[in-house]
């Protein structure tokens, strides 16, 4: 079925009469002439007569065809698909231009991205709108639908719409084209113009379109009786990719974890590479960058429409490390933005521990420090903890400026000078102090010597059972309530807690009750007495274990749970815990940033070096929520005292990742899409809006013009002969 954009030009078909008139004029009754050389006329005419008649008719046909083709082409005909409702708006239409601004629109083909093509198409579509057609434009990206929250009602302010289009930029967000079109249909309802049209410029990637959603409907006018059904708008989906396949490979996930095989601070980075194309990719180069340096490179083969994992290993420096996994690109086209992922990993620093042995023994197993030394041995800690063991007298004379943690194991009450040194280091330098008791400890002198270094003053020693005595196992104390979420015990899964709970303690110190003390008990014995109690003192921490670190008072040191708790305790006290790296945030989402104690989150610097919007629940709250995060990459919060200058705190740094779905540019099934949008009658997919705008069908005019040109050529060839 044909339809015409400019039916007025069809009057031009009447011009077909011209060549017919010329033909008839040529065929009119000839003038008689008595001619001498008629013999030659006769001979010529006999040869030519038949050919001439044929040529005459051919010429006539070609001339008619030429004129008809031009007239038809001017009227811009198109082939309307069957079953089109005649209810479709002809005449002016309120038009909503929906421009897909999702990350996948950054896909580059040649020198232009899909978004740039779509924007050009949208501007051209805007130019083609009639003066009586109001328009509105929206950038579709993010979970909310449109970037600006919604689509304004169509207006005649063409300049504003144009300016908006010209300044439009693609985002790094995903898009939900379905909800955008639903919102656009709603906005069209606010226009009094009866015709409604949505032109969406998109890559038609399947991830942005929900085929199970109800079709977009323009709400009935305000005055309509209740129960009036909504109106199906005309929908044109302009395919920015123009039907071409869009192969892409992307880094879709990055996992960073320590690996013992690379020694201390050895990490492996596992990158998951996806190949969204119909051909398998072989030899993709993956590189691991830390700062500007490439630390490792590898190659990976990825099957078509599949994923592959590539593990790259590196020894990382201590502290907060930011890095990036990247694919090397060679193709001219593709989506560059998802070819890499940033990550942040907290690499624990090395800890220097001083073990003060209060009861040295020439017999290694009898030595008070034996189990602690074993737990902190480089072989068991990956070399992260360097320990030195001294007896109490030697330790008292040592400078402890470079020590991160001091462990007092069954040490008699230290002299005043040493205690003061310890206190200074803890309060001012943030040193950690671990205190374990034993037979050399006298509660009263300990309370005197250490004072507030002890989380709570010691009271008296309790003997639950004599070690080695009969039934001692039954009477000995066990660990009761344990704060499993504390870093010390975090390593224990539910199945592994038995290892801690099975320890038996025969003797331990009871502490004086002190309701005002800020100390925090991490573990209790089953009789309710504190077993491990922690206190923050200035910049440092003190951890008191109320029993012994050797087998004299307890059998815990020979249990499997002793080793991890002690290692964790040393790291914890040194503020060098192997912290879990922060989970990445999603682009488009918000991220809560928790300020360290006493400090305030001042601002968060985004990957582009510009601060990100911050939101606080309360005016003077220290924590803040950053976002929505617009860019993928590394975000660096800056913290500071409430009225001081802020400084960057890398330990709070986090990474925002783009939605890996955006890297999958597989096209939606057009037939299903049309069905979802209300059937082929009101929806269509076109390579350009020009083809679709104003007409709804296959355009025919270019073919007609070609036909006309051919007719002109043929006519010329015939008349020249």
């Amino acid at each position: 079925m044909f339809q015409f954009a400019h039916p007025g030009y069809l009057w031009g078909l009447l011009a077909v009469a011209l060549p017919i008139l010329v033909h008839l004029f040529n065929q009119r009754r000839p003038r008689p002439l008595a001619f001498g050389a008629i013999e030659f006329v006769l001979r010529s005419q006999r040869q030519k007569a038949r050919r001439l008649r044929l040529r005459q008719i051919l010429l006539l046909a070609l001339r008619c065809l030429l004129i008809a083709a031009v007239a038809l082409a001017l009227s811009r005909p198109s082939l309307k698909p069957k079953g089109v409702l005649t209810a479709q708006a002809s005449g002016p239409q309120a038009t909503a231009l929906v421009l897909d601004a999702s990350l996948s629109m950054r896909y580059r083909i040649g020198s232009k991205t899909l978004f740039e093509r779509a924007r050009e198409e949208a501007l051209a579509a805007l130019d083609r709108l009639g003066p009586d057609e109001p328009a509105s434009v929206g950038l579709c990206a993010g979970a909310a639908g449109f970037v600006s929250g919604g689509l304004p009602a169509p207006s005649f302010d063409r300049l504003a719409v144009r300016r908006l289009l010209q300044s439009a930029q693609p985002t790094y967000l995903g898009s939900d084209l379905t909800s955008c079109m639903t919102a656009a249909a709603k906005a069209l309802g606010e226009s009094p113009v009866p015709g409604k049209r949505i032109i969406a410029f998109t890559d038609l990637a399947a991830h942005g379109i929900r085929l199970d959603a109800p079709p977009p409907l323009v709400p009935p006018p305000a005055g309509a009786p209740p129960g009036t059904p909504g109106l199906k708008p005309n929908i044109v989906l302009v395919d920015a990719a123009q039907g071409s396949q869009l192969p892409n490979s992307a880094v879709i996930a990055t996992a960073v974890r320590p690996t013992a095989s690379l020694g201390a601070r050895g990490y492996e980075v596992v990158a998951t590479i996806a190949n969204q194309s119909a051909h398998s990719a072989s030899g993709l180069q993956v590189s691991l960058k830390i700062g500007p340096n490439v630390l490792a490179k590898g190659f990976v083969d990825v099957p078509a429409h599949g994923t592959a994992k590539k593990t790259l290993g590196a020894v990382l420096p201590a502290g907060v490390v930011t890095g990036r996994v990247e694919l090397a690109r060679e193709e001219a086209q593709g989506l560059d933005e998802d070819d890499g992922q940033d990550f942040v990993v907290h690499v624990p620093r090395d800890v220097k521990a001083l073990i003060v042995d209060g009861s040295p023994s020439s017999l290694r197993t009898r030595d008070e420090a034996f189990f602690v030394e074993a737990a902190l041995a480089p072989a068991r800690t990956g070399g992260r903890i360097v320990s030195q063991t001294l007896d109490a007298d030697a330790a008292a004379n040592l400078t402890i400026d470079s020590v991160d943690v001091v462990l007092l194991l069954n040490v008699p009450a230290p002299p005043k000078g040493f205690a003061e040194k310890l206190r200074n280091a803890v309060v001012h330098r943030g040193m950690g102090l671990f205190i374990a008791l034993g037979d050399h400890v006298d509660p009263d002198s300990y309370n005197d010597a250490l004072g507030d270094l002890l989380p709570r003053p010691l009271h008296l020693l309790k003997t639950a059972a004599e070690p080695g005595a009969q039934d001692s196992e039954d009477h000995a104390a066990r660990f009761g309530v344990v704060e499993w979420t504390h870093p010390l015990f975090r390593v224990f899964g539910p199945a592994e807690r038995e290892g801690l709970e099975s320890a038996r303690t025969f003797r331990y110190a009871l502490l004086k009750p002190d309701p005002a003390s800020p100390a925090h008990t991490l573990a209790f014995y089953d009789d309710g007495a504190p077993a491990l109690i922690e206190n923050r003192l200035g910049a440092g921490r003190v951890l008191l274990y109320t029993s012994s670190a050797s087998r004299t008072w307890t059998d815990w040191p020979i249990r499997v749970s002793f080793l991890p708790v002690l290692q964790q305790a040393v790291s914890y006290l040194a503020s060098a815990l192997e912290e879990r790296s922060p989970a990445p945030a999603a682009v488009g989402a918000e991220r809560a940033v928790q300020a360290p104690q006493g400090l305030l989150v001042a601002q968060v610097i985004g990957p582009d070096g510009k601060p990100v919007a911050l939101r606080r629940e309360k005016q003077d709250e220290a924590d803040a929520t950053a976002g929505p995060l617009q860019l993928p990459g590394l975000y660096r919060p800056q913290v500071g005292p409430p009225k001081g200058t802020p400084h960057e705190d890398l330990s709070l740094a986090f990474v925002a990742l783009a939605d890996p779905k955006e890297g999958d540019l597989r096209r939606v099934d057009e037939a299903e899409l049309k069905a979802q949008l209300g059937g082929a009658g009101s929806a269509q997919v076109a390579a350009s809006s020009e083809a679709a705008q104003g007409s709804h069908g296959t355009p025919l005019w270019s073919g007609l013009l070609l036909l006309g040109a051919l007719a002109l050529l043929g006519e010329g060839a015939l008349t020249r002969r």
Binding site: P32, F35, K48
Partner: protein, 302 residues
């Protein structure tokens, strides 16, 4: 001096026109560098104005104190028969003159020239006989004037030429047979025709004439329109000799027509030249005196 056919056509009776053409030829001959002198001396003739001064015999003048000019064998013995085709096609001509009128001018001028130098001139007009004719003439000969050289005879020749009208089929072959018979001993036969002959027997007849040792000269006369076919509008062409007719788009057949015409002209010229018949192809827009002058000059050079 060149006589434009258009100017000539306005000059009135054929006598005037033919004389004008003759004068033109004579003037041309005097200027011409070619002086044929190939024939044998025959007798003396008293000088009369118009004779070649260079032919005056100065020895005879010394002896007799009178001007005599030498007469030569050729000149004295020449018998020339003018055969004019007056078929229907010769009546064609939408310009200044029809082909027949043009042929008459040329024939008249030749008659003047020939009789001036004392040659005997005869005329044969070919065509079907006039309905009111009382003369008993064979088939194909409409009029015949026997050989003579007196000025009165020339006037008779001119009168007959002026009275001729083109009609009927081409009967030239029959007329040529008759001419061959009448010319008797070796003579100059000048044929003026377009040679448009549906039976295509004219050329064999010309060759036959030549084979009887006559000196045959063909003036093949065509109208410019026949040569160029300058028609544009669709036309019904009517035959001038029979009832054939044809409708045609001249523009579409022009190329083919011109090819046919060229083939005809070339073919007839080539064929007659092979038989040693001299052919002069003339268009009616050419000045007749110029044409005749060229012809004479060529013959003298030969």
């Amino acid at each position: 001096m060149t006589l434009d056919p258009a100017l000539l056509a306005r000059l009135g009776p054929l006598q005037v026109r033919a004389r004008k053409v003759m004068e033109g030829v004579l003037t041309g001959l005097h200027k011409s560098p070619h002086h044929g002198q190939s024939v044998e001396f025959s007798e003396h003739k008293e000088y009369a104005p118009g004779d070649e001064i260079r032919h005056i015999d100065w020895r005879a003048f010394a002896k007799l104190d009178k001007y005599y000019v030498k007469r030569f064998e050729m000149e004295t013995n020449l018998r020339a028969l003018l055969v004019v085709d007056a078929s229907g096609s010769m009546a064609y001509g939408r310009g200044a003159m029809t082909k027949l009128q043009y042929a008459a001018v040329c024939a008249g001028a030749l008659a003047y020239l020939l009789s001036r130098q004392g040659d005997q001139v005869g005329l044969c007009i070919s065509g079907d006989p006039a309905p009111d004719s009382t003369e008993r003439l064979p088939q194909g000969v409409r009029e015949f004037v026997p050989f003579a050289s007196s000025p009165a005879h020339v006037q008779e020749v001119l009168r007959r030429l002026e009275g001729a009208s083109g009609r009927g089929p081409t009967l030239l072959p029959a007329a040529l047979d008759f001419a061959a018979e009448k010319a008797g001993r070796r003579a100059l036969v000048i044929v003026l025709s377009d040679l448009f002959d549906a039976t295509e027997r004219s050329i064999p007849a010309l060759k036959m004439l030549r084979s009887r040792r006559h000196d045959v000269l063909l003036l093949q006369i065509h109208d410019r329109e026949e040569l160029d076919f300058p028609f544009d509008d669709p036309t019904r062409f009517l035959s001038m000799e029979d009832d054939r007719q044809i409708e045609a788009q001249p523009r579409q057949i022009r190329e083919s027509y011109l090819l046919e015409m060229r083939n005809f002209l070339e073919g007839s010229r080539r064929e007659l030249a092979r038989a040693d018949v001299e052919v002069q192809q003339i268009a009616t827009d050419a000045a007749p005196d110029r044409v005749l002058l060229e012809l004479l000059a060529r013959r003298e050079a030969a």
